[in-house]
Amino acid sequence: MKSLNTLIRIELFKIFKKGRTYIGFGAIFLIIIAIQAGIHFEGQNLFDFIMQQLDQNFQFEGNVINGYLITYLVLNTLWIHVPILVALVTGDLIAGEANSGTFRLLMTRPISRTKLLIAKFLAGWTYTVLLILFMILIGMGGGLLFFGKGDLMVFKDSINFFSASELPWRFFAAFAYGTLSMTVVAALAFMLSSFAENSIGPIIGTVAIIIGITIISTIGFSLMKPVNPWLFTTYLPGWQSFFEFELDKAKILRSVLVQVAYLVLFLGVTFYHFRKKDILS
């Protein structure tokens, strides 16, 4: 295990020495700051406009525009972008080495291919988790700091109100679920990376697969209906389940299991292929 730890540290060192690694953090920071600034300056007007109809039936009290609302809006906005940012780094983990010719440098050392892959994936996963933690820190931490706490109102099929006291665990669960989804995305990019000789293909391939399948599923071809429950992309927005008044535990469990199955499939293909692969680059 000692050598695996060493390999993970080396892989993390390489990831965080690369400029592209910080594109994700920079992008998240800028988007969240833009959302927070927009809500600070225009949030009340926008809220009043949306609430025109509801004001006749409901009476709103307290801090409606609060840190939790900001976090919820950030999540809705960024779950489209985060897969791209994850693929940017994890799609480069293997193909980037092949492209730069450093694989043959590494593989002539007494090193196990399996251990190297494990170390690379865990380092990529660590990056993914750090990206999400950064999102929580800036989005939720910044939101609560500047906008304070309050109840959350969510429009999803119906209007759901959540009290401030129950929101921490709902957000925690949503972020945990999101981490699993992004781990599946990371595994997909990692698998494509093992087949490629440069990182552009796996990065674009990952994004294209996610967007492509999502569009086809959403358009709702009748042919796709029986397939949709078995596609991992169907469950990428599944974190929203934690903002339904009554949690559908069976639905959440199914979402988790399908995603774990894809995770195992993607990693299985990667390990099988890479262990047999001739290093020609």
Binding site: S3, T6, L7, I10, F13, K14, K17, K18, G19, S100, G101, T102, R104, L105, L106, M107, T108, R109, P110, I111, S112, K276, D278, I279, L280
Partner: protein, 314 residues
């Protein structure tokens, strides 16, 4: 150079690399076809072949980057397939162009490779190897700022970092200018002499192999064409020999009357060039002297380049 190559025989009977009928097939194309060779401890072993002959594929199989389709590879007397870690730990390698993490410094690159190779006392080892290759003062520079020659030297440094018993260098002078090639040659010689390392070197720069190697193999279309002692192979069969004489016309007349006329290849103001076997050089010399022609120098003209072309186009 003469000192360096004075012992052109095999230096030891201990086999460091042994390939037995090794093949590599890609669909219908055989990149390497039942290649066999032996590298002994202490050798500087030249690995020659035209472009596409299968040199790099063979070297990659020796380093387990590529799995052979057939045959067996033994390193240090052990089967590579079952002793990968033990054997690779005793080998340093530089494969084709030396690629590093360009966004890292020379030292950071070596730290990564040293940690993977379980090198103890890594900092001083890095200083030592960078000193050896003349890059100590650039250790904190990013590799992206390095010239091709500096990258090649860093490539040599990484191959030596873990104190291997043998290094495998695939085209180490690739992309270098003549001065760079000379420096690389001297560096390899130093490593062989000072560290007593066995070296397998593949190159298409034939004078480099001729000056460096004691043994060699020439491969063509994936097959071994000839393997053996460099000097013995070069001295095999007929070769062109220059005889520098005081009177060229007299020498030509003597040669014509001696029955060696067919061997006369060419001549100029100061020499005649004959195509003869090595064993006959002394005989011709005696004949010329006996015919009152002073011979001031005898120079065999067979180079590795000529030998290589003859062998690979035969």
């Amino acid at each position: 150079m003469a000192d360096f190559r004075q012992n052109t025989k095999t230096l030891s009977s201990e086999t460091y690399i042994e390939l037995n009928n090794v093949s590599k097939r890609y669909k219908n194309f055989k990149a390497v076809d039942e290649l066999s060779l032996k590298v002994f401890k202490g050798d500087i072993y030249g690995f020659l072949g035209p472009n596409g002959a299968g040199k790099s594929t063979s070297i990659r199989m020796m380093l387990s980057l590529i799995k052979p389709s057939g045959g067996s590879i033994k390193l240090f007397g052990k089967d590579l397939a079952h002793n990968r870690y033990q054997t690779l730990n005793r080998i340093g390698a530089l494969i084709e162009k030396p690629d590093f993490y360009k966004y890292l410094t020379a030292r950071e690159n070596l730290e990564i490779l040293g940690k993977i190779g379980n090198v103890t006392d890594l900092t001083s080892k890095i200083d030592e190897t960078l000193e050896l290759v003349g890059l100590r003062d650039r250790s904190e520079s990013k590799v992206k700022t390095f010239s091709q020659g500096m990258k090649q030297r860093l490539g040599i440094a990484q191959s030596l970092l873990h104190d291997p018993d043998m290094i495998i260098l695939d085209e180490p002078a690739n992309g270098l200018d003549p001065q760079g090639q000379k420096e690389m040659r001297h560096l390899i010689q130093r490593i062989n002499v000072e560290r007593g390392l066995t070296i397998l070197i593949s190159s298409h720069i034939l004078p480099e192999i001729e000056q460096l190697s004691n043994r060699m193999v020439i491969i063509n279309k994936g097959k071994s064409v000839v393997e053996g002692n460099v000097q013995e192979l070069l001295n095999e069969g007929e070769m062109k020999v220059s005889f520098f004489v005081d009177d060229v016309a007299k020498a030509i007349q003597a040669i014509t009357t001696s029955g060696l006329a067919s061997s006369l290849a060419e001549s100029d103001d100061e020499k005649i060039i004959l195509t003869i076997e090595q064993e006959r050089i002394a005989e011709v010399n005696r004949f010329l002297v006996n015919n009152e022609t002073a011979v001031s120098a005898i120079k065999p003209l067979r180079s590795l380049e000529e030998y290589f072309i003859n062998i690979t186009t035969a």
